[in-house]
């Protein structure tokens, strides 16, 4: 939608050939991604949990004739080297020097957000402040004096309510102004004791002429903080500066009785606090609807019900809505032309191919669309509302049993849709060990493909209650294996520190946009695979290539798992995408009634094994990219092992009772 204001005519104005770069920076959860979308029209995903925007997102904007590249930096609280996100952001701002840094702040938590603003000012970044969610702040009774804030900080301030597109035009205008005029920012001073030490070290740095891109004052502060990266960089240029910094730091430390980095952080917060207090015209915390929701979602008993409701509700919603929609669509399509899976070499190749294309398209429409869209729709609502933070709060002690903390529940829930983005979002966890443990748990999370297998094999032909039972089995397996993995991977767990941002009423536009962007990326990947896969399968089947494969795997599939011979072929197909297990079964059996080839027990075992046995190719690829091939091999082997063990046991147990 872009710059939605009436003045928007300028958006399509011809380029004046000049190019500018804006970088968006700020804390997690302040609506940076929404502003990014408003500015660039791009379909970046917007979430409501800390550290969502991990990758560097880029978009373009034409404004007042300028071609502007907008970069969305990760949401962070500081420029210490606690995480990769912080390092990436600070190097970008200091070294690549964007024309303007747009610092987005949550108007209702001004003090915490200004802590970060002060660090941007230390870096002497050309700043525009965007105070977002002023409407939410106003509802809480917080009113901010814009002129006062501009005067104290010496940078332009723009008020915005980004979800409604308010203030975006003004923001772009101010940013362009700053980019052209490059006004000199005010030099904000800290307490005398600290300021003297900074200036003392700054002079030493300036005298040494290190030839670094970073501003001298910022280097001085970072040296005093004992920042390991910066110390390394400077030590390579001049040992004297580092030695001098150590002496000065020791002086400061003994006079304050506090470590230097703590003195500096305290000082920044003290300054942020005084600026925030002076700029607040009115600040009364009113009890709002959000507080009542807060009470319900974190109540010591009811909180667990709401958490369980969110976790199970999303799955059940997907399952039942998907089920209904799938039936409707499939009935609709069969009116056009029923798929005829019965094929033989007697038919011309073209007919086989065409049938395959239609079958693949059909499968995509009846399987992916009905399950994926409802899930992502509800997920977007849940995500933007802020309820996931509360689920993370309530689930913290349970997640500790798996060596994780509460925040890990968020990627796992995301895994209901597709494991690939879920594993990517594990970056919100602090250490590699935690990311690995969370990713491992996700490889068992019932993604939409698994839901389709459960629905298409068990729900339809054995009974809904059996499909639901398999979900429960899956959750138990995730928990048990999570504990095993925690014991197997050495290391300590870090604890939870998470901002509990206030509840937000999800904006319809944001929800729809996000749903579409996620669905789109799945459709683009899945439809071609379905169509090609289906054609290939039809051809291979017609020319009888599949039987030897099935025979080779017979000891495992037939003897140990008690499945029919075709299971071997289906399981190989399923490594591409899990739904291909169902699709393949239909194609090979030559009927949509799977009971022709399977007994009910076999369907349950088949679905169980398909659910657990191997992460699909895309999941394996993302695991390899994030964690290296060794870890990926171990995870994959663990998946296969568990699937065979559980599948074999289930077969023996079920035959006993059947």
């Amino acid at each position: 939608m872009g710059l939605c204001c009436p003045q928007n005519g300028k958006k399509t104005s011809p380029s004046n050939g000049k190019h500018l770069t804006f970088a968006l920076a700020g804390n997690a959860n302040v609506g940076k991604s929404v502003i990014f979308n408003q500015l660039t029209d791009s379909n970046q995903i917007i979430g409501n949990w800390p550290g969502k925007t991990v990758d560097r997102a880029e978009g373009n904007l034409r404004f007042e004739g300028y071609d502007i590249t907008v970069i969305d930096l990760p949401g962070i609280y500081s420029f210490s080297t606690f995480s990769m996100e912080e390092l990436v952001s600070r190097d970008y701002i200091a070294l690549e020097k964007p024309d303007v840094v747009i610092n987005v702040l949550d108007a209702s938590v001004l003090e915490r957000n200004l802590f970060f603003t002060l660090q941007l000012l230390e870096m002497q970044a050309p700043l525009v402040l965007c105070l977002n969610q002023v409407d939410v702040a106003k509802n809480k009774g917080i009113i901010i004096d814009k002129d006062k804030l501009e005067e104290t900080l010496g940078v332009p301030v723009v008020f915005a309510t980004a979800t409604r597109g308010e203030g975006i035009y003004e923001l772009a205008k101010e940013a362009v102004k700053v980019a052209i005029h490059k006004p000199k920012a005010k030099h904000l001073k800290y307490r005398k004791e600290l300021e003297e030490k900074i200036e003392q070290l700054q002079q030493i740095i300036e005298k040494e002429n290190l030839g670094l891109q970073y501003p001298a004052r910022w280097l001085a502060i970072k040296l005093l903080e004992g920042d390991s990266e910066i110390t390394k960089i400077i030590a390579a240029k001049s040992k004297a500066v580092v030695d001098a910094s150590k002496v000065i730091a020791a002086e400061l430390q003994s006079s304050c009785q506090e470590p230097c980095f703590s003195v500096i952080a305290s000082e920044r917060y003290a300054l942020a606090s005084s600026i925030a207090v002076s700029a607040l015209q009115q600040s009364e915390i009113w009890t709002t609807l959000s507080d009542k929701l807060e009470w319900l979602t974190t109540h010591r008993v009811l909180g667990y019900f709401t958490s369980a409701g969110v976790i199970a509700g999303l799955l059940l919603w997907t399952f039942f809505v998907g089920n209904g929609l799938s039936t409707v669509i499939s009935n609709g399509l069969s009116i056009i032309r029923p798929v005829d899976p019965a094929l033989s070499t007697s038919q011309p190749l073209l007919a086989i191919v065409l049938n395959g294309v239609w079958g693949g398209l059909n499968a995509g429409l009846t399987l992916i669309i009905p399950f994926v869209i409802p899930f992502y729709l509800l997920l977007a609502v849940v995500e933007t509302s802020g309820i996931l933070t509360r689920v993370a709060f309530m689930m913290d002690s349970a997640m500790h049993k798996m060596g994780l903390h509460g925040k890990a529940i968020i990627p796992i829930i995301l895994g209901y849709g597709c494991n690939v983005p879920a594993i990517q979002s594990c970056k919100i966890m602090e250490t590699r060990r935690e990311r690995l443990l969370a990713a491992f748990a996700i490889t068992f999370a019932p993604c939409s493909a698994r839901t389709i297998v459960l629905f298409g094999m068990v729900g339809l032909f054995v009974g809904i209650q059996w499909a639901l039972l398999l979900y429960v089995v899956d959750v138990i397996i995730i928990f048990v294996l999570g504990r095993v993995a925690m014991k197997a991977v050495p290391g300590k767990s870090t604890g939870l520190i998470m901002e509990m941002s206030s509840f937000k009423w999800p904006s319809m536009k944001v929800v729809l946009k996000q749903t579409w962007s996620r669905t789109k990326s799945i459709i683009y990947i899945v439809f071609p695979i379905y169509i090609v896969g289906s054609v290939l399968l039809q051809v291979l089947f017609a020319y009888n290539v599949l039987t030897p494969i099935g025979n080779a795997l017979a000891p495992l599939t037939v003897w140990w798992l008690g499945l029919p011979l075709i299971a071997g072929v289906l399981l190989i197909l399923g490594t591409i995408r899990k739904e291909l297990v169902v699709l393949g079964a239909v194609a090979i059996l030559g009927t949509t009634n799977l009971l022709v080839g399977f007994t009910p027990v076999q369907l349950v075992v088949m679905a169980l094994v398909a659910m657990l046995y191997i992460p699909c190719v895309s999941t394996v690829a993302i695991l390899g990219k994030e964690f290296g091939w060794k870890a990926t091999a171990v995870i994959t082997a663990a998946n296969i092992g568990v699937a065979l063990l559980v599948g074999g046991l289930a077969f023996r147990l079920l035959t006993l009772f059947a």
Binding site: Y77, S78, S80, F82, S108, V109, L110, E111, R112, F115, G226, Q253, S254, Q257, E258, P259, F261, S262, A265, S266, Y269, S273, A276, T298, R300, G303, T389, A392, F393, M394, D396, S397, A398, H400, H405, G406, S493, G495, L496, I497, M498, E499, M500, S501
Partner: protein
Amino acid sequence: MEQKSTQDYLKAVYVLRKNGDLVSNTEIAQKLDVAPASVTEMLKKLSEEGYVKYSPYHGSTLTEKGLKEAQRIARKHRLLETFLSDVLHIGKDKVHMEACQLEHALSDEAEESLCRFLKHPDTCSDDGKTIPACDLPFSSCEECIKLHDRGLEEVGKRRENLVALSELKQGQAGKIHFIRGGHAVLQRLLDMGLTPSTRITLIKSAPFDGPIEIFVRGSKLAIGRGIASKVFVEPEAKVNS
């Protein structure tokens, strides 16, 4: 039955108190394995000395003075237990009794050396309970490491009585004085605004040793129990609920 000292009684009340409820004489008698009559007698004495607030038939709570003394002993006891089990590998069944004997003889100086030697443990490795903060006037363990050769007299003592953030009552506020743990934890907490002298209010604690929710600098934060027991605050007496 052996004679129990003032310190044993204070420690018993300290361990038994939960959420500020009164501790009954029966509980103390059971804990220390002494006759109820001697408990009554001893509590009266402690009350006169200003260590406990004792109301007959209801029970007792620790005063500021009593809490300070009890935490001092509990700290020595739990450090010793950790040392005995982790370093000397003494059996779990004997660790507690050994520590009970040794705690009375351990000097303050030896206690601080022990704390540094054990790398500032958070919890006792015998029963997992939080080890109270030391009474040196530092705001973090980093300084203690850097300044430890200055001698205890020169460093002086902390006046305030500190409790872990996780021990605050719902609605109670406190001011941060000390954060235990290495550079990484400290930096993370500082970045989130938990700097020394900051006022924090506990909004709620999740059950099952789950995280706590606090109000700090105009916003709400969730903090895991493990980290919350590293942050030590001077509690305010008034509780707003």
